[in-house]
Symmetry: C2
Subunit: 340 residues, 2 copies
């Protein structure tokens, strides 16, 4: 099969790779309908995370089940399925509490890489969720978004305590931040302030339900949020970047007693204890337990209630993955969909 | 009047000071029935926080209202009242959300110092809660505990998401940690693990409802908590110390999806972002909004449902405050009650 491999920062190649096979009796092999490039793929692509030898890439996937292991009982060949970046048994105490990304049997969801024609999926019964029917082709991008960025933005909104009547701010205008806006809308937020200085992203934020746009960052951005909220700060802030600056911007934009939901993967962040203490914020986040939300998100996409697939503003054949990475790295594209 | 003043680390003196008077129309002046030394008073006493000139001490108080300003309408002279360390209007949006210690009009609760015969209390209507009747003398220590350490332990338990069926761990065996145990018992925790290596404090923790005692600290303490919880960690951890070690011990003792409630005033703490991210814990805390809980806590004390006054294991006349500080500094006493 064809699959994308990262050899070194900036060096992604699509090449012939071995077809994945069932290795554990709980595995499935799927044929990908679509896959994509994640903001988190850019960390090693940019050399900020180390690249330790050639690495198969991709962890967002939807597709048709080709084959299942002998211990897979609920997932069947021929089903259209959505999974996410970590495999989970979905039965342990941690999974049952809704934290499948900390499952006691957690492992990479697509260890053979999902930017490929086929992928092996671990713990298939726990990890994969089948759609009710074969989806119409135009729904595939939305289902692919559910696999990671929608589920992550949704978790950010839930972790930020978004509910009807709340004022929400979103730090980060990548696909996750934009889908955090969409999630906040669905969860009933009264006011949603998107922090973005990029016109096309502001536009999409508004389509997803943002009521206000703040272009300032850092302390100036915080001051603007305070201006918009009677000097108090937002009730709920979704952090979707993962840097020291973005985390502090999120914490300082939140009113006392409010909630920060942080889903940007933390890089070199150190939170100052005394400021946290006196901020009175609730802080929660981490790798989104997308599996918790998948049944609901699949339903919202399949009933055409939401269209998270709009975050894909570039679509390329899998063989052109390198251009997909470049376009995202240069912020020419929000998110690249790849057709295997 | 007589009042305690900290001149320098280790140098507390009780001396003649001016009687407090009504300065703002929202003030009250109270005659103290009892006051006490707080664990947080030990930070400047030990020189860990700077002492900027002679400072009147004390912020925990119960007593009889002597006089009120012309804009005080609900609190009346002659009432027995309980207040806490910050004054709050109890009407702003932040107060109404239950975060009175971040009130938009927040100020020190007893600016003239509460380790004294009399104290001026700011924003009396918002800050003070009257008991239903004049309490029996044996209830006074419990009401004094409600003023700070019980309210703080209670907030720690609430912030840690304690509820029926949960396993709770408590880091810190000072008065706040011990009353965190009592709060967890009242909130219905199934199992309460107190972390303490001091026999008399272990004893009191058991009286307050602890089911298990862990004497190890740091990584070993974390390993013992994991041993006791099927390898997962506690659902809820109350942190009542405020150091880097105690915060990390609390975070690492919590299962993914669990809650850390931190009420130890942070000193030189830096929380590592990546570890926080992958820990999946909820983090909440800060200066306890004792005012939120006072009506309930006063009721529990006055109906003799709980006896938080047991944390006072040393009682001295106000004039011997210096010995009260020394005894706590040397860990000879858990908490010193002072009789003005």
């Amino acid at each position: 099969m064809r699959g994308a491999v990262l050899y070194a920062p900036g060096d992604v190649r699509v090449e012939d790779r071995p077809d994945p096979t069932i290795e554990e009796p709980t595995d499935a092999v799927i044929r990908l309908a679509a896959t994509c490039v994640c903001g988190s793929d850019l960390w090693p692509y940019r050399g900020i995370e180390p690249v330790n030898g050639p690495s198969p890439m991709g962890h967002e996937y939807v597709g048709i089940v080709e084959e299942v292991g002998r211990d897979v009982h609920t997932i069947k060949p021929g089903q259209f399925v959505v999974g996410s970046f970590f495999a989970s048994d979905n039965t342990c105490e941690i999974c049952r509490a809704g934290y499948q990304t900390s499952c006691i049997h957690r492992q990479p969801g697509a260890p053979t890489g999902a930017q490929a024609q086929y992928a092996r999926i671990a713990l298939a019964d726990g990890t994969l969720v089948a759609t009710p029917d074969q989806p119409d082709p135009d729904l595939v991008p939305g289902l692919l978004a559910a696999s990671d960025v929608l589920g992550t933005g949704w978790f950010g909104a839930v972790a930020a305590g978004v509910e009807p009547g709340k004022t929400v701010a979103v730090v980060g205008d990548g696909a996750v931040g934009l889908l955090g806006v969409l999630a906040a809308t669905q969860l009933g937020a009264e006011r949603i302030i998107a922090m973005s200085r990029h016109e096309p992203r502001q536009q999409l934020a508004r389509e997803f339900g943002a009521t206000d746009i703040v272009t300032e960052r850092g302390d100036e951005g915080v001051a603007r949020i305070k201006d918009l909220t009677d000097g108090l700060g937002a009730h709920s802030v979704i952090e979707a970047v993962g840097t020291q600056e973005s985390m502090m911007q999120a914490i300082r934009s939140t009113r006392p007693g409010g909630h920060v939901g942080y889903v940007g993967v933390s890089h070199d962040v150190r939170l100052p204890g005394e400021e946290m203490f006196f901020s009175h914020v609730h802080l929660h986040g981490g790798p989104a337990p997308v599996r918790r939300f998948l049944p609901e998100l699949i339903d919202l996409v399949c009933t055409r209630t939401i269209d998270p697939g709009k975050v894909f503003d570039l679509e390329l054949p899998l063989d052109e993955a390198a251009e997909g990475y470049r376009a995202m790295d240069e912020r020419r594209a929000i998110k690249t969909l790849l057709r295997p």
